[in-house]
Amino acid sequence: MLRRPFFWIITLAIAAFVLAPVPGNNVGLRESLALAAVYITLASNLNLMLGYAGYINFGSIVFFGLGGYICIWLVDAHGWPLAASLVAAAVGVGALSLAFGFGILRLRGPFFALSTIGIVEAVQAFAENFTPWGGSSGIYLSPQVFQPLGGPARALWVIYFGLVAVMGASLYLSYGIKITKFGLGLLAIGQNEDAAAILGVPTSRYKALAYSASAFLPAIAGGLYFFKGAFIQPSDAFDLTLSTETIVICMLGGQGTVTGVALGAYLYEELRGYLLTSSTFSNFQLTIAGTLLLLIVLFFPSGLMGFIYSRFPRTQKVLE
């Protein structure tokens, strides 16, 4: 892996994220990059299912929200340190995704997609009725929780580096899976599941593995994200908009590519930052995301990377 140029491209991108906001304590840039890191994490992990295996998961946000809930709950009610809570969130959500996967991955194609909508409904209904998680009013953290990390100002930097680390892990994971036999199997499932099964790809096992591999990093990102805001409630944790935006990002960048999805996430974050600050567009965020998605699906189904690959065929050898 160390000999492949793309590995070093990922490493450079991570280094840029780490170093860019440090000079001059640039907090504004840090916040915008933190959000970009969250988008890249969510999109890269969704890409494992959507881009590689060809399974649309409308409910990828569940991993993010549940991770956030488990982490915040452990910190708040049981006084766990952040790091231990994050590990617990990752393990918990990973296990849960295996259980979900066991149920719904027996369904194929569009049926799987429909049942992921149901997963969101089910988990959200659970969070709204589960008293230890504060029901629909959620959980507030006291500012005291930032003390072990050296006070709020320093804690925000620690969380930022944590988010970048999760983003980096997601990119390495996406790339790592793509260049192994496992990734090849997933891509084969995406092309034609029956043919893949006949050729000896263990389709059920691979799909379940991919589904739960796509769960644990978003769970950690969710833990960090909601710890940063010191607040979590069901409508934020399982926000349909974020789930939707993640799909738009994957399609925008080019599903199945590592570079494209990361690039798409970054571009989308910039676009969204611009749209939210402009008063005309802030009400129409969903509409704009929808229009973008419709245009991509109808006219550019292979996304940004499809365009780059066809214009500069040589990039196919370097950029995965």
Binding site: G109, P110, E121, A125, N129, F284, G290, L294, L298
Partner: protein
């Protein structure tokens, strides 16, 4: 015990309306293998049309039915040309994404214009009293109208030339084209009918329960459950699936908090898909 029975009967009445909504979804699926993810929003569009016509302009609630039916048809035909036409025959995932995108656009505009306030249309009809229990008149009339519209659709599909052509296209699009059926126009008609049915059932649901712009998701999920119960592409099965779902809802409502109803129905959805991939009430090639 009698209370549960009354709850079940009421559930069946509402279930007929769910069944009508699901017919709209299953018709589109059966004819062109497209899952219409704007379905929930079209149901809400019917509700909003009811609210604007009856609540604001003072039209009698049930007289909004014809304009919603006709308007829904044209909206559906437009939806076909915008989001589906280019993707017919491609993998179902592409049209799933494109209708999902149109849904986002509509929901975004809807929430920007109306917000997420609760709307309510007051329908005062005398109820039917049996012993201590009264069945609301609106529920009975909605169920009757749903059954009549479903029957009319059945006659249309089996007795008219266009209906027969539509079934031919569902059966085998290439063969239908070879015998001179204008398939593209019929696909547009199918989406038009599907959306019109979603709109009308939304209007009927709007006379029963209060609603918001975002209610569509819940009713869409119900339509999916009904559709898998009835078997994809099977209108008669969908109506029976609707009754079955209404029966279930009526039976569990007295015992379970409302927010869990949808979760239970969803678990049912997955279980039915796994156990009966062809639907519980399905017969092959019904459409």
């Amino acid at each position: 015990m009698l209370g549960i029975l009354a709850s079940i009967i009421d559930g069946v009445l509402v279930g007929l309306v769910y069944g009508l909504a699901a017919i709209g979804l299953t018709l589109i699926w059966g004819v062109m293998d497209v899952i219409n993810l704007t379905h929930g929003t079209m149901i809400v569009a019917g509700m909003m049309a009811l609210y604007l016509l009856a609540g604001q302009l003072g039209v009698s609630p049930y007289f909004t039915l014809p304009p919603i039916l006709i308007g829904g048809f044209f909206v559906g035909a437009a939806l076909y040309w915008v989001a589906i036409h280019r993707l017919v025959g491609r993998p179902p995932l592409m049209s799933l994404l494109s209708t999902f995108a149109v849904n986002l656009i509509l929901v975004g505009v809807g929430t920007a214009v109306w917000g997420t306030a609760l709307f309510n249309v007051d329908v005062s009809l005398p109820g039917l009293s049996i012993g201590r229990y009264t069945f609301p008149g609106a529920h009975i009339l909605a169920a009757v109208l749903a059954a009549v519209i479903a029957a009319a659709l059945y006659v249309f599909l089996h007795r008219t030339r266009t209906g027969k052509a539509l079934r031919a296209v569902a059966n085998n699009r290439e063969a239908a084209e070879l015998v001179g059926i204008p398939t593209t126009r019929l696909l547009a008609i199918a989406v038009g009918i599907g959306v019109a049915l979603a709109g009308v059932s939304g209007m009927l649901i709007g006379t029963l329960f209060p609603f918001t712009i975002l209610s569509g998701d819940d009713y869409q999920l119900k339509s999916f459950i009904v559709t898998v119960l009835g078997g994809f592409g099977n209108p008669v099965g969908a109506l029976m699936g609707g009754v079955a779902l209404g029966l279930l809802e009526g039976a569990i409502t007295p015992f379970v908090p409302v927010s869990w109803t949808l979760v239970i129905e969803f678990v049912l959805f997955v279980l039915v898909l796994i156990a009966f991939p062809g639907g519980v009430f399905s017969r092959r090639g019904v459409l």
